[in-house]
Each structure stands twice: as structure tokens, then as C-alpha cells.
Assembly symmetry: C2
Homo-oligomer: 492 residues x 2
């Protein structure tokens, strides 16, 4: 065995244990008995402790030093790049701090769920304050004198920086606000879908949709949870969704979104199973898949025409009289509190709000006592509406409760990447629209699988997008797509 | 921190990880996608590797050497006894072997399930041969020159030996066979319950029954699986059951049985959470709880009278015209292939068959090529019926596939202990029958919780039974109970 083989054998076991941690998180959100929470917190902490010890094992450092990189092929070099980055990051965080973060976030997530149900931010604030304090400690350890927010961000989007994202948001913001204002003031306003929609029928349709996009149920499953998510890699990639009797689009588009994440994981080269290349390369690229499936495809005129018939088969007559009205309903730009229910134009404004608040929290410039008010005033300024209760405001997302700071901006980055990829996909598939009209989305997955999904972690995120598109990523395709689409939907 | 504190902190994390392993096993049997099996095998192996390393950590040996036992209280000494026994056992098994057992049994269980579904022993034999070979290696390592079967048995029933169990079976056998023959030849033969029983209604009743016996759903859940089981300790104790439209007793009594296991785990002193005392002390004692709930209580004339009304409410009119006939149906002694569907008299004969075969397998005296034939001829001799297909014979139980050798006899030991405990319980609860007639089984759980369940692993198994009963365990109460009960049921 060479040092490289030893390192990879060690890494493989670590990743197998990491998969177990993911499965535990899935369990906690879907099937775990409520009263098990305190014990689960200890279990998660124990596993996190093991993972941390393995990731910071001095032997990893020795192997990394010993390996002759020039003797490795492209895959070997990519593996090494991932392992080295992880090792250097993880070694900086003390074992005790890593364990405490695991323990506190495990309880915090449950406290958050209860606080959200009761719409009571004060019930959540103390534990969130603990999470923020721990994440600031972690960020300081990781940054080693550099920017603390960038240090956290790097975990989700290697190579990205807060400054770069700020520049991206600065470029997006004026055109998005202008488009939103034109759309809101338009004479033609699509009507929302009204009615009560059987929740079992929603789930049945969700399963059918996931399958039609290529999600493989032999290596996955779809369940209900408070927050839709996708978890796991390789041969066990599970997704969750939620249902709302008044809003079937919530279930449908959450499902299509998570299907995008899950297809990415399922379509990675099976040779990379349980190696650093066997997972999606970054959250931004991950989100580009889910958002492209959800929006560019799922909310397209062509696909919603097909979906309209599925909806009538599932729910009977709809308030939307025809496919055109249904398409409008699926693309309504509307005032609303909830990020995940937002439209494509305002979605990125929701992200900017979170990005700014969490950067301030991590910088220590925003006290917990001021967070709810900061959220509400910023929301009113950006969206022109007063937040009515914290469940619709600062309590709406699970992310901060589980310690995900630096994660939100990757959603916006995913939108930008999705814009780029859609342009390339459309160019490569001249009959795409004809296919979507028939609900044939397999060719979308086929192109994405070949150009984005299959390589897993082989390339760096930006490089991967550039290889797929032929040009470096930019905001322009997304903004052009939104301008064109909403001019049509709103008859501007 | 003293050496004892260090040891207990280490132990607590190990037990938290052990709970995760249990949760993974639950996941595999209930919700895991089929195609995930190969990856899960690697995950389980990785976790087993971690557990083994922790259990054989040389620091444990050092702490054990350092601790001044005389300074400890009863709880401390009991903790130490468990940890020392575990440490000495586990240290004897090479890491590689332990990992391989975990990996092979994980796949073997799936192969077994498929082979059973296809009723094809040849599909299972090669992988079972591997399991047996690995378990023989393990037994040899554990026995260190002593009896290999005893070495495996000790994992499930500390202190028990094959010879002692053989003596117990020798005492049970003649009286059980004589009773069976009298019953089979009786003029009065209770009719079985006939009809088709809605499976959803079976599960609904199963949930209600589990609750009525005191199973706490806030710290557990009930799902369907191929093989009914209980898993987990402390705050997360989950049970499974199965349904058969033709045989609602299967679901009902599997559920009551697993509820007995689960109540035991849930009622252990919460101070013992994630310590060696926080789990049932042995499989025999565990089984005494499940069998007492299932048989002595669940199949009693008093309780079945109450259950009869619940059945009519759940399923409508029954083929049994009255509670007396229903009681007879629940206690029919009938030729049958399946251990878990067997009656109280013949159940122990099923165990004796497995006990003998597995002792020979572990001794190397029974080749895999001869196993199916050995099972079938022994079955014909003991039960007077030819096994019609391997799903009804050698493939019926999951145990061997997951490496459980030495586990079966603890079922019979549990029956013997249940006989002792029932005698004591009846003596302590003069109005027991009046309570059971009203379905009030809470007092049963209360007595068992106080006398058997709450102490967890504080006492040695036999000692625990003796403390609860006031006399050392013996076969006599079980045999007397069976003679008396079946004389009534069969009007002998």
C-alpha cells in the first residue's frame, strides 16, 4: 500500500461515517420520536467527535506530506486537493468546539421547530445566540486572521468570498428591483391557483414528478418533513417535501427542487462512491441543479402546459381555466414573506437580506436582541410589507439553527449558475421545448448528468460551470432570462 | 477526573455510537431503499470498526487497572463489571474479523430476505457458510481454549452455558411432549379464527395495544418490517411488527411481544441512560418480559375476554362466536412450521431444534450442505410434519443471517423466567384477573418495572430473577402453568 492508498482507505471509512451522520439527520427530521431529542444530541455529538478525530488524524497529515503528487492522475490529484483542504480546515477547529457545535445545533434545530410552530422568537433566541457564538469561535479558528465570514463560506463554496458575492448582488439588485417594479405595476396580473388540494394526491404527484425527472427510488425515498431537503450521496439519496392543502405548488416545486439535488448526487460517476469526488462539488453548483429543474424547466411555459393536465387529473377542475393561466399562476410575482415560496425575481432579494444579516452576526455587529427587529425593518424596506409574525420572518428557515452560516448566498450563486447552464442546455438541445411540452424531462437530466453531475468533485466549481457552458459564469444569462420570461408572463 | 470518571465518559460516547448502530439496523429493516444495501454494508463496517477500536482502546484497560473498586458504590461496581466483561471479550476478537462480520452479516441479511421470499435455500447457503465460518473464528478467539458455543452464548446470557441449557431442555422436553400429545388427542379442539382482517385495522389495534401496555410513543414508534423486533435503549426505543390478512393474531401478539421488550428498555432507571446499566441485562431476561406480556398476560382467559371486544370493534363479526371460543383460538396448539407463530407448548421444541443445529454448526459438526436436510429430518421427528419449503423451515428466522448464534436458547430461558415471574406477579397482585378482564394491564407493567425493569443491568440475570421472585429460577412454574392452562383450554 502506498501513502495514497492508505489515505484513500482512511478517507473512505470517514466518508462512510459521514453518510451515517447524514442518515441520522434525515431520521431526526422525518421519523424520530419527539422525546428522543436529548439522547440524539449526545449520539450526534459522539459521531461528530469520531469524524473530527478522523479528519484531524495526524496520519492524514503524514500521508499528505509523503504522497508524490506528480505520480497521480487527474482523479488522484482532485482527491488530494479535497482532502488537503478539508484537513487544513478541520485541523484548525478544536475537538471540543466541534463536538459542542454538533450537540448544540442538534437541540437548537428542535427548539427552532417548536418556536416556529409557536411563532415565538424569544423561545429560539437564547439557543440561536449560543449557535452564533460557537460559529464565531469556529470562524475565528478557521480564518486564522483572515475574514471570518469567508472562512465559513469556504465550507459551502470553495474559493468564493463575501466581497465577490457582494459584487454579484450589487449587479443583480438594480435589474431585479426594476423588473419586480415593472411586473408589480403591470396591467395583466395572473391569478393565483385557488382551492383545496388533497394532500395525498399532492404526494402521489410528487412521487411521479420525482421519477419523471430521473430520480431513482431504488436508491432513494420521498417523505414529508417540516423543511424540504435532500440528504445522502451515492446509493442512498433521500428527499423530503411538504404539503399545504391551499398551495399545491409548494409541494410540487419543493419536490422538483430536491429532485435536482438528488439527481446530482445519484448521477455522479459510481467509481467515485465514498471518495471526495463522490459528492456534489459545492452548494452553489448543487443549487444550480435544483433551481434549474425547479424554475428554468419546472416553471417554463412548455412544461407547465404538460403539468396542467397532470394537475387536472390529480385534483379535478382548477381555478385556472387553461394552461396559459396555470403557467401564470406558477410564475406569479407576489408580495410574500417566505423565501422558499418566493418567485424567481424576488428570491435573490430574500437571500441578500439573509446574507447581510448573517455577515453582521458573524462579524459581531448584530446582537441577538436586535435580530428580529433588523430582519423586520430590512424586510419592510426591501419588500414593502411588514412581517406579521416571526414564523413568517426570522424563524422561517432551519439554516441558522443548525449552524449554516455562509450557506444562504450559495442559493443565489446557484441561480446565477442555473442561468448560465440553461443557456448552454437550450443551445445543445434544439428540440427542448417540444420535449417539455410532452413532459419529457429526461433529456434535461441526461445533459446535466453528462456535463455537470457525472464529474462530481473532479473540477473546481467555477471551472465546472465554465466547462459545461463554454464561457465563465456571469449574472447576465439569468437576468436576460428573467427579463424575457416575465415580459411574456406579465405581457409587458 | 478520576480513572472511573474517564472510563465512564469514554463508555458513554461508545454507547451513544452503539445506539447509532442500532438505529442504522432499524433503518435497514424499515425505510432503507433496497439499492442502498452495498453502501450500507460499508457504512456499518466503518461504524463497527470505530466501536471495536473504542471497546478495545488500551486506555480502557489502564483505567480498569487504576480504579479502586472498594471506593465505588453498588452502581459503580456494576458498571465496572459490565465494562470489564465487555473489554475482555472484545479485546480477544481481531479488528479485521469484527469488521468483516459486520460487513458480511449486513449483506447476508438482505440475501436471506430475498432467499426467503423465493424460498430458495441454495441462494442463502453460500453467504450463511461465510457467516458461520466467521462466527467460528470469533468463537475460537473468544473461547480461548474453552467451549466455543458457550463463548458466543455469553454475549447474550452472561454466565449461562450450553450444558446448563441442555439440562434445562432435558427437564422441559418430556413434560412438554406429554402435554402436547394429550392436547392434540383431546376431544375438544378450539377452532382457529377464520376470515380476512383489514391490515390497517390490525396496525391501528397494534398501536392501541402497545400504548395500553405502557409503551411510550413519545420515545418510540411502531412500524412494519419483515421480522418483528425492538431496537434502541433509553429515549428512543422503536418496535416493528408485521401483518397478515389471514392471521390477525400474528400482528397482535408480535406487537405485544415487542412491547414487552420495549417497555423493559423504556422503564430502566433514567439515571442509567447511556451507561452499561441502561440496557436490558440479558436476552433471557429481555425475553421473559416479552413472553410474559405476550403469553401469560396476552393469551390469558381474562385478557382475551377484553381483547375479543376490541377485535369485534376493529373487524366486525368474528368466526369465534364468544370470548371463550376466542380464547381457545388464541391458544390453539397446532402443527405448524413457524417458530414465531407457534403455541406456548411447542415453542420451546422449536428452540431445542435450533439450539442443537447451531451448536453443531459452531462445533464444525454440521456442513452447510447438510443443514437443510438436518433441519427437515429433525423437524419431522419432533413435530411429525414434513417441512414443505425452506421459507417454512431453515429460512424462516433472520438470526443466523445476522450472526446471532447462541441467541435462540435465550428465548426458552425467557419462557422459564416468565413462568417464575408470573407466579410472583400473581401473588403480589390479588386482583390481577379482575384488572385483566377490563384490559387494565398497567399494573403488570408497574410490577415488572419496579421488580425487573427499573434496575437495568444492576444485578446479574439469575440474581435479578431471584430477587423479583424470592426463589431461584426453575422450570417448574412454567410447566405447572402450561399444564393448568391447557387442561382448561382443551378441557382435559
Amino acid at each position: 500500500m502506498t501513502a495514497y492508498d492508505d489515505l484513500m482507505a482512511h478517507e473512505r471509512q470517514t466518508r462512510a461515517l459521514g453518510q451515517i451522520a447524514g442518515r441520522l439527520a434525515w431520521d431526526q427530521e422525518t421519523v424520530m420520536p419527539d422525546g428522543a431529542a436529548p439522547q440524539r444530541a449526545e449520539e450526534s455529538e459522539a459521531l461528530e467527535h469520531v469524524l473530527h478525530a478522523r479528519r484531524t488524524d495526524p496520519r492524514v497529515g503524514n500521508w499528505l506530506d509523503e504522497i508524490d503528487e506528480t505520480a497521480l492522475d487527474e482523479v488522484g490529484r482532485a482527491n488530494l486537493r479535497h482532502i488537503r483542504r478539508r484537513f487544513e480546515r478541520t485541523s484548525r477547529v478544536p475537538v471540543k468546539l466541534a463536538g459542542e457545535i454538533a450537540r448544540v445545533t442538534s437541540s437548537a434545530q428542535r427548539v427552532w421547530a417548536e418556536a416556529r410552530a409557536a411563532s415565538d422568537f424569544t423561545a429560539f433566541a437564547p439557543v440561536l445566540a449560543k449557535v452564533v457564538a460557537l460559529k464565531r469561535d469556529e470562524a475565528a479558528a478557521l480564518a486564522d486572521g483572515g475574514d471570518t465570514y469567508d472562512a465559513l463560506l469556504d465550507d459551502y463554496e470553495p474559493g468564493a468570498t463575501g466581497a465577490e458575492l457582494q459584487a454579484m448582488f450589487d449587479a443583480l439588485r438594480p435589474r431585479l428591483v426594476a423588473l419586480r417594479d415593472r411586473v408589480m405595476g403591470a396591467a395583466h396580473q395572473p391569478a393565483p391557483l385557488k382551492g383545496t388540494f388533497d394532500e395525498k394526491a399532492q404526494m402521489k404527484l410528487a412521487r411521479a414528478l420525482a421519477r419523471s425527472f430521473g430520480y431513482d427510488m431504488r436508491h432513494g425515498r420521498l417523505d414529508k418533513a417540516v423543511h424540504p431537503f435532500s440528504s445522502g450521496s451515492g446509493l442512498d439519496v433521500r428527499i423530503t417535501t411538504r404539503t399545504n392543502p391551499d398551495d399545491p405548488f409548494n409541494c410540487t416545486y419543493s419536490t422538483i427542487h430536491e429532485t435536482g439535488h438528488a439527481c446530482y448526487e445519484q448521477n455522479i460517476d459510481p467509481d467515485y462512491l465514498l471518495t471526495p469526488l463522490g459528492e456534489g462539488v459545492s452548494m452553489g453548483v448543487h443549487e444550480s441543479q435544483s433551481r434549474l429543474y425547479e424554475n428554468q424547466i419546472g416553471r417554463s411555459r412548455a412544461f407547465t402546459g404538460w403539468l396542467f393536465d397532470r394537475y387536472r387529473a390529480a385534483f379535478g377542475d382548477l381555478s385556472a381555466p387553461d394552461a396559459e393561466a396555470f403557467w401564470g399562476a406558477a410564475n406569479r410575482v407576489h408580495p410574500g414573506f417566505i423565501r422558499t415560496e418566493s418567485d424567481e425575481i424576488q428570491y435573490n432579494l430574500h437571500i441578500m437580506l439573509r446574507f447581510d444579516l448573517e455577515r453582521r452576526m458573524i462579524a459581531g455587529d448584530l446582537a441577538m436582541d436586535d435580530l428580529e427587529e433588523a430582519w423586520n425593518s430590512r424586510f419592510a424596506a426591501d419588500f414593502g410589507v411588514e412581517v406579521d409574525n416571526p414564523a413568517n420572518g426570522v424563524l422561517q428557515d432551519v439554516h441558522w439553527s443548525v449552524g449554516l452560516f455562509g450557506y444562504f448566498p450559495t442559493y443565489a450563486l446557484g441561480n446565477v449558475y442555473a442561468g448560465c447552464l440553461m443557456q448552454a442546455l437550450a443551445r445543445a438541445t434544439p428540440d427542448l421545448e417540444a420535449r417539455l411540452v410532452r413532459g419529457e424531462v429526461a433529456s434535461v437530466t441526461a445533459w446535466l448528468a453528462a456535463n455537470v453531475q457525472r464529474p462530481g468533485g473532479l473540477h473546481e466549481p467555477k471551472d465546472l460551470i465554465e466547462r459545461a457552458c463554454g464561457t465563465p459564469p456571469s449574472e447576465a444569462p439569468l437576468l436576460d432570462y428573467l427579463d424575457a420570461k416575465f415580459a411574456e408572463v406579465y405581457r409587458l
